[in-house]
């Protein structure tokens, strides 16, 4: 806990509660060395949920009992309001801002539940919304341009003037160059609490960044002063990255030296232009787009460009391309949030499985490579079916077939699970070694109620006796049995059965393997084992002899000879 306390730091105090003076409001906080300000978007996680939630922080405060809390306005994932979508087809990275009144609009959450900053860009054509640049759109985690009214359950492109009592402007993108007219001597004032503090900070970053740009010549003194005073605040590179992302200057991102020049122009204008923000913003943006060759100066085309970029970003997922070109062999890439997967303490897998079965989100994938790791299955499903899932390989034991790997996969929703099963039935997902992966629902085994275990004998008379006397403080009854007992003889019979069972399982698996390989009149199938077990890929139809050899080789790799026990005692 001490660690956690160290990791958390409040920003500047902005005031106290009107009713309860002990409630203290803040403008920002730093948690795990990431600074979050008011009106930042962030991921929050509620233990036990399948997904993180995305929201906008609108209040930060500490309660009299020193609980650190935030009021947040939620963004909805389209999947969460699936029932109300109607014929609206959301983009893959689209979110919907909560609006109206009622539950689901906003909540007070614990700040410790924060996961990371989230870059959400508003693409609304609303006049109050500063248009995002192409670069920003490309870097955005999510976009939104519609609201979802939680009381009417309706989707709208219009934004009310206030959402949850907060001016809607604060939900839109941040103004470009806002407050950058402030002379640096105002530093003290800057630190003064205010609603616009965070916006202001982003614009400062902007200046910072331009300071760093190599081709910048003739900087105004003001800015360098500003930069220096801010240095300390932004030493954290991660924070800097974030802030720049949520900051607003498109041209800063331009790497080409020649393109940086117009930016300077706009920047100087920025700093000295007395015109109102909005107008200036447009000016800045226009300049920016002019400077970037090939980007049209017209606003609406710019918007179209933005859409294209969003689509392109979607297509960056390997799988997308793969879905269109079916012949192509694709490589499974790591899921982008691979490192994020271990952030939270997960519920025990068994509990999750039970829950998933009740919710209908549980699918059993069969015919996987037995040597797959659970993470690889997750990656595979992500790349092939574009679903983020929880997966676990079924552990190999005496009851599993060594030829086929199986895994339980928990999907986010029932429809996703159904879609995946449908997709796996309509066409075949072939993994590298030529296996078609199958998916189906399987119910979990209901643990058998019977207390007896075949092979463990208890004498009826002794049973009663034992319960009375010793059973209560009996410890463990494990022992090696000696050859001069009745028990030993009986145990030998069991050994015999166990040895026999090994033999018949081996025989079965060998037979099954033979069947699989006897179908091997095709490259696909011969791939089945060759690539998996690093055998040379045979060309042409293999003769029976070759097949035998192949089987033996595969068998030795599969460790089919289960007789690990020396059978001398049998």
């Amino acid at each position: 806990m001490g660690d956690e306390a160290d990791q958390f730091k409040w920003g500047v105090k902005t005031g106290v509660g009107q009713r309860h003076k002990a409630v203290i409001f803040y403008d920002s906080f730093t948690y795990k060395s990431v600074q979050y300000s008011l009106y930042d978007c962030a991921w929050f996680y509620n233990p036990g949920d399948v997904e993180t939630n995305i929201c906008k922080i609108v209040r930060l405060f500490e309660t009299p009992t020193h609980e650190k809390k935030a009021r947040v306005v939620w963004f909805f994932r389209p999947g969460e309001i699936r029932r109300f979508l109607g014929d609206v087809e959301p983009k893959w990275n689209e979110l919907l801002l909560a609006s109206g009144q009622g539950t689901g609009l906003s909540n007070v959450v614990h700040l410790e539940a924060v996961v990371a900053k989230c870059n959400v860009i508003c693409t609304s054509k609303d006049t109050r919304n500063p248009r995002p640049s192409a670069n920003e759109l490309q870097r955005a985690d999510y976009v939104f341009y519609r609201t979802f009214d939680v009381s009417k359950n309706s989707i709208s492109e219009k934004f009310a003037d206030e959402i949850c009592g907060i001016k809607v402007e604060l939900f839109f993108n941040r103004m470009k160059g806002q407050r950058s007219t402030n002379p640096p001597s105002n530093q003290a004032e800057l630190k003064k609490p205010g609603e616009h503090f965070d916006m202001f900070s982003s614009s400062r970053i902007e200046l910072n960044k331009c300071e760093a740009s190599p081709s910048r010549s003739g900087p105004s003194k003001k800015m360098s002063v500003l930069k220096e005073s801010d240095k300390g605040l932004y030493e954290n590179p991660k924070l800097k990255g974030f802030a720049v992302e949520s900051g607003t200057v498109s041209c800063v991102q331009v790497k080409d030296k020649s393109n940086v020049r117009p930016f300077e122009v706009s920047l100087t204008e920025n700093a000295e232009d007395p015109r109102p923000y909005k107008k200036r913003t447009i000016l800045l943006d226009d300049k920016g787009s002019i400077s970037q060759k090939g980007v049209s100066t017209k606003r609406d085309i710019f918007g179209a460009e933005a859409c294209k970029i969003i689509e392109k970003a979607g297509a960056q997922l390997v799988s997308r391309e793969g879905l269109k070109t079916n012949k192509q062999v694709m490589e499974v890439t790591r899921r982008p949030d691979a490192e994020r997967r271990n952030w939270f303490k997960q519920l025990p897998w068994e509990v999750k499985l039970q829950k998933a079965q009740e919710a209908g989100t549980l699918v059993l994938l069969e015919n996987l490579d037995p040597s797959f790791a659970s993470v690889e299955v997750e990656d595979l499903v992500y790349c092939a079916l574009e679903e983020k899932v929880d997966a676990k390989m079924i552990q190999y034991s005496s009851f599993s077939n060594p030829l086929y790997g199986k895994a339980f996969v928990i999907f986010k929703s029932q429809s996703a699970a159904e879609k995946a099963i449908y997709e796996l039935n309509r066409r075949y997902l072939i993994i590298a070694d030529g296996r078609p992966v199958t998916g189906r629902r399987r119910n979990l085994r209901v643990p058998s109620k019977s207390t007896s275990f075949p092979g463990h004998l208890v004498l009826d008379k002794l049973k009663f006796q034992m319960q009375c006397e010793e059973m209560r403080n009996a410890v463990s009854t494990s022992h090696c049995s000696q050859p001069n007992t009745v028990e030993y003889d009986l145990a030998m019979q069991w050994r015999e059965l166990q040895a026999k069972s090994d033999l018949w399982w081996n025989a079965l698996y060998e037979f099954l393997l033979f069947i699989i390989l006897s179908h091997a009149d095709n490259k696909l199938q011969r791939l089945f084992f060759s690539s998996c077990f690093n055998l040379p890929i045979p060309c042409g139809t293999p003769s029976l002899q070759e097949q035998r050899k192949e089987i033996n080789e595969v068998k030795s790799r599969l460790k089919l000879n289960r007789n690990a026990l020396p059978l001398s005692t049998v």
């Binding site: 499974v332 034991s397 997902l429 009854t477």
Partner: protein
């Protein structure tokens, strides 16, 4: 990605070597029973029961026992192969063998492996083959399930048979006990002139 991944996998492989797989365990066996039973071979580091989600029926449990050194693991395997080892019941002995990587559900990715996949549409020439293979997969799992029921039947048969013979044995012992108690044995020994005491 490179080296830490490899290190992780090497650590995992080491863990596999130190681990023993035990099956034919009664459902009544708990972690503490296992721990006390196997602590005589060395220090038990970790115990994990392999959950069984799919195979129906009253089937034995399996467990992975991680020991401190691979030598200890080896001694468990060899001892349990030599002597029938009873745990929480008699006379069905448990079995031990060395664990394999596939038995762990948290196994890390094998370093250097790249997964590939492709979709085969109905128009694809490979479609038929894939269909056949898929069918085989289903069929084979059905066959394995059948084998399981057969095996369970065999086990139950053996149990019944042993129960019978045990009952007979018990009866015999009880009879002898009774004869000794009510003096019949003594009378008979006098009759046949056999000295009971020294035997």
């Amino acid at each position: 990605m490179g080296t830490p991944n490899k290190e992780e996998y090497a650590a995992f492989e080491d863990k596999v070597k130190r681990t023993v797989y035990i099956d034919n365990l009664s459902p009544r066996v708990t972690e503490s029973v296992l721990r006390t039973a196997l602590n005589q071979f060395g220090t038990v580091v970790n115990i994990q029961f392999i959950p069984n989600y799919l195979v129906p029926g009253n089937i034995p449990q399996c467990a992975l026992i991680e020991m401190e050194t691979s030598k200890q693991a080896f001694s468990i395997v060899s001892t349990l192969a030599q002597f029938p080892f009873m745990m929480s019941g008699m006379p069905r002995p448990v079995r031990a063998r060395h664990a394999e990587a596939e038995m762990f559900d948290d196994r890390p990715i094998k370093p250097g492996r790249k997964l590939q996949f492709r979709w085969v549409d109905p128009s694809d020439p490979d479609f038929e083959v894939a269909k056949k293979l898929k069918h085989l997969c289903r069929k084979h799992s059905a066959e394995a399930a059948f084998m399981h029921t057969q095996q369970q039947k065999k086990e139950e048969d053996l149990t019944k048979q042993q129960e019978e013979s045990l009952k007979q044995n018990y009866k015999k012992y009880e009879m002898i006990d009774g004869l000794l108690a009510d003096g019949t044995a003594r009378r008979l020994s006098c009759c046949y002139n056999i000295n009971l005491g020294d035997d």
